[in-house]
């Protein structure tokens, strides 16, 4: 893609960003670093920590639901568990997730820049993230205990409960700023810092998706910030805004909440789609099919996705016109996602496919995201939405999209980019074994939810009627398989960090985007010389297969 690939970053005298010594060294060299790569790793540490906490809470919930009646915790604890699980997984794991870790680390590299546009603001965003995370966890130890409202904080219950609601609200508020500032940073970076010659249609597809996501972050996040602040005001000062007892309107709250939180779903999934578009050409070793269609569909999803929020409220009561429009738009937003899926599958055609771990996760993404997307279309159909709404079907559906989609894309990204980030390779065989546990466990865990949801099992139920028992049992067993897979996967990755074989070659997968032309691990400012871009990414002109290299220990 770059004309003078040999020149870029061949200077091995420069230390990698991991060894680089700037003004500060040691731990301060990390905590005060404005290097986008180090900030990406700081985010990674935070996000993975919260992910493990969230998984553990989910594990406890599934264990409680293994049989009807009380199993391991009380109803109150269960309600707090699912609230905390939701708050952590959504605000601390999946929303920042891919953009904060991989966007920070790779976005500047992918466009041939030395850093993001506002490096100090970038570091500030991480501190906001940390503050928000701390606030969310603080509620566990403070009197009152963690909130039991569900992550949606629906009013009036959230005004009345005796648990700590203000803390997670302020956590989400602070985290919103972190997300917003990151978005602002990415938009400016993409506009201002592209390498010479990198026109819009020469950008890698993940850059398109980070860009589309950033706009949603900037435009939608202020709404949730204002909404959450209004809830805090209502709780503290008893001013009637949403609570009918004070003369407020609870449906207004739901609208404001979903005006942000539905676009937030696209903040979560669009970057994942970018990862998929990045990995498929590399492991099929051919050009991506329909580059422009994939790029524009990201924008279309961001656009339409901002106009479908009220499909969360078909049973809450709207005018017929409202029901009609929101159902129609919801159906239409499925189309750009479908276009992406078809283009990805078409990219496999006549490729030279290497089923390495990143590719396995990506193929699983396509399968699981298709289930998530198709069940999403079903919910856009109003008459059946009424049956599905607030049942386990919804829980199954959004885990297929968020975990089967974004989560799997993130796992793919770890296996794809980790050797580049740390210069260490994991055990490839073990990575594939972990994959099968994760994939099979995932389906055992979430598919039964789709079935029992249709049969009428409501969500957020601590206890359930005996007819739902078989599905809950299978689901809980699935959670054990999934967690086994996660343990193997992260054991493999962490072990590689400590003692994996050292990788120094620049292009271990045969990729054609810029990160594969710089040192492994990258040097402090990525490039010794800024590349000049002449061609679209993923050209694979000669199609020669990359040389297979044996693992060396």
């Amino acid at each position: 893609m770059a004309s003078d690939a040999e020149v870029i970053g061949t200077n091995r005298h420069e230390p990698s960003y991991l060894d680089y010594k700037g003004k500060h060294s040691g731990i301060k060299g990390w905590l005060l670093s404005t290097d986008h790569k180090r900030i990406g790793i700081l985010y990674m540490i935070g996000i993975l920590t919260f992910f493990f906490v969230g998984v553990f809470l989910g594990f406890l919930m599934r264990l409680e639901l293994i049989a009807p009646g009380e199993t391991i915790v009380s109803a109150e604890t269960y309600n707090q568990l699912f609230t905390l699980h939701g708050v952590i997984m959504i605000f601390l794991f999946i929303i920042p997730g891919i953009p904060a870790i991989f966007g920070n680390f790779f976005l500047p590299i992918l466009i041939g820049a030395k850093d993001v546009a506002f490096p100090r603001l970038n570091l500030f965003s991480w501190y906001l993230y940390l503050t928000g995370g701390t606030l969310a966890l603080l509620s566990i130890v403070l009197p009152g205990g963690p909130a039991d409202t569900g992550w949606t904080f629906y009013i009036p219950y959230s005004v009345r409960t005796g648990t700590n609601v203000i803390l997670p609200l302020s956590a989400a508020f602070v985290l919103g700023f972190s997300s917003l500032l990151t978005g602002l940073n990415f938009i400016t970076t993409v506009h201002r810092l592209r390498a010479p010659g990198m026109t819009w249609f020469k950008m890698p597809l993940s850059v398109w998706s980070f860009y589309a996501t950033a706009w949603v972050q900037v435009l939608a996040t202020p709404i949730i910030a204002i909404t959450l602040m209004l809830v805090a005001i209502e709780r503290l000062l008893h001013i009637g805004i949403f609570d009918p007892a004070l003369g407020g309107d609870p449906v207004l709250y739901q609208h404001l909440f979903w005006i942000y939180s539905h676009p937030a779903v696209y903040i979560m999934i669009i970057p994942a789609m970018g990862i998929v578009s990045e990995i498929i050409p590399v492991f099929t070793h051919r050009t991506i099919f329909g580059y422009k269609f994939i790029a524009f569909s990201s924008i279309a999803i961001a656009l339409f996705g901002s106009l479908v929020w009220a499909h969360h409220m078909f049973t809450a009561g709207m005018s017929d016109a409202g029901q009609f429009i929101f159902s129609l738009l919801t159906m239409i937003v499925a189309i750009p996602s479908a276009i992406k899926v078809f283009n990805w599958v078409a990219t496999l055609y006549k490729g030279s496919i290497d089923l390495a771990a990143p590719m396995l996760y990506v193929l699983a993404f396509i399968f699981l995201f298709s289930i998530g997307g198709l069940t999403g279309v079903m919910q856009g159909v109003i008459s059946i939405n009424i049956q599905f709404h607030d049942t386990a079907f919804i829980v199954g559906h959004f885990h297929y999209v968020m975990f089967g989609g974004t989560g799997f894309a993130m796992f793919a990204a770890f296996h794809y980019w980790m050797p580049k980030m740390f210069g260490r390779m994991y055990n490839r065989k073990l990575a594939k074994i972990a994959f099968w546990f994760v994939f099979i466990g995932f389906n055992f865990l979430y598919f039964p939810m789709l079935v029992m949801g249709w049969l009428g099992m409501p969500r957020r139920y601590y206890d359930y009627l005996p007819q739902f028992h078989p599905y809950h049992l299978i689901s809980t067993i699935g959670s054990w398989i999934l967690i086994t897979g996660l343990i193997i996967m992260f054991y493999n990755l962490f072990k590689a960090l400590r003692s994996g074989p050292v990788v120094t070659e620049k292009n271990m997968w045969g990729g054609e985007t810029l990160e594969w032309q710089i040192d492994t691990p990258p040097i402090h400012e990525n490039f010794t010389e800024i590349p000049v871009i002449e061609e679209r990414p993923y050209m694979y002109k000669d199609n020669d297969p990359p040389v297979e290299k044996e693992e060396t220990v």
């Binding site: 496999l348 298709s370 279309v377 079903m378 709404h389 049969l455």
Partner: protein, 228 residues
């Protein structure tokens, strides 16, 4: 059985079936193509890839066909919804009050019950209100669900087709005992319903004998909590 437990089952289930058929078709198509390509074009069998950049015909095809299908689904969903939204005027009204964590059903005669007793083959309108927080009235077998907010009048209607007992759930999270906010719909013949309606409040309906001990214990728990 006459087309399901309520008048909505047939239309909802037929759209559901259609959406399942379309979904399974696409899922199988995508999965089979993926597996086929992965096998046929594996690096072993096909060491040299061929670049295929784009194909306008294909892009148009896989935009238009799904578009038509989702619009068809949308339309049937909308028609089904309209049916639920238009409440017939001659429907018998029952006032339903939701509060943490129980249901109360009040009839035009003034009779109050903790289960919903309705005559078969007659349109029943439920006027829904809440005394405290948000709840949702959900009878899966009837395919009906409606959110209930304090201080707002909501309504839902149905015609029960069979003499049978069904579950009622609260579907909007409402705090501690949300999952215990259950009740039953008891569908009776018109004659039995008349007898039941004209009997006093204190008569415990026979259906309770059919319920298992677990449910009975829960019901008693509600009642004792209610008194406190």
């Amino acid at each position: 059985m006459s087309g399901g437990a309520s008048n909505f089952v047939e239309s909802v289930d037929s759209v559901f079936l259609l959406s399942i058929i379309i979904s399974v078709f696409f899922l199988v198509l995508i999965t089979v193509m993926m597996i086929y390509f992965v096998i046929k074009y594996s690096r072993k069998r096909n060491p040299k890839a061929v670049n295929v950049h784009s194909n306008m015909m294909l892009e148009v095809t896989w935009t238009i066909i799904p578009m038509i299908l989702v619009l068809i689904l949308f339309w049937y969903g909308w028609v089904g919804y309209k049916e639920m939204a238009d409440i017939p005027e001659d429907a018998m009204t029952v006032e339903v009050t939701a509060q943490m964590w129980q249901w109360q059903f009040k009839y035009e005669t003034g009779k109050v019950a903790d289960s919903l007793f309705v005559p078969v083959n007659k349109a029943v309108k439920l006027a829904l209100t809440s005394n405290d927080v948000n709840h949702a009235f959900f009878v899966p077998a009837f395919r009906i669900k409606k959110d209930i907010f304090p201080g707002r009048d909501r309504a839902v209607w149905f015609i029960a087709n069979d003499i049978e007992v069904y579950d009622i759930f609260c579907a909007e999270y409402c705090g501690l005992n949300h999952s215990a906010m259950l009740a039953k719909v008891v569908v009776m013949s018109a004659a039995d319903f008349e007898i039941w309606l004209n009997a006093g409040n204190d008569i415990k309906p026979d259906y309770k004998a059919e319920l298992n001990d677990n449910d009975k214990a829960e019901t008693e728990l509600f009642e004792s909590e209610n008194q406190n």
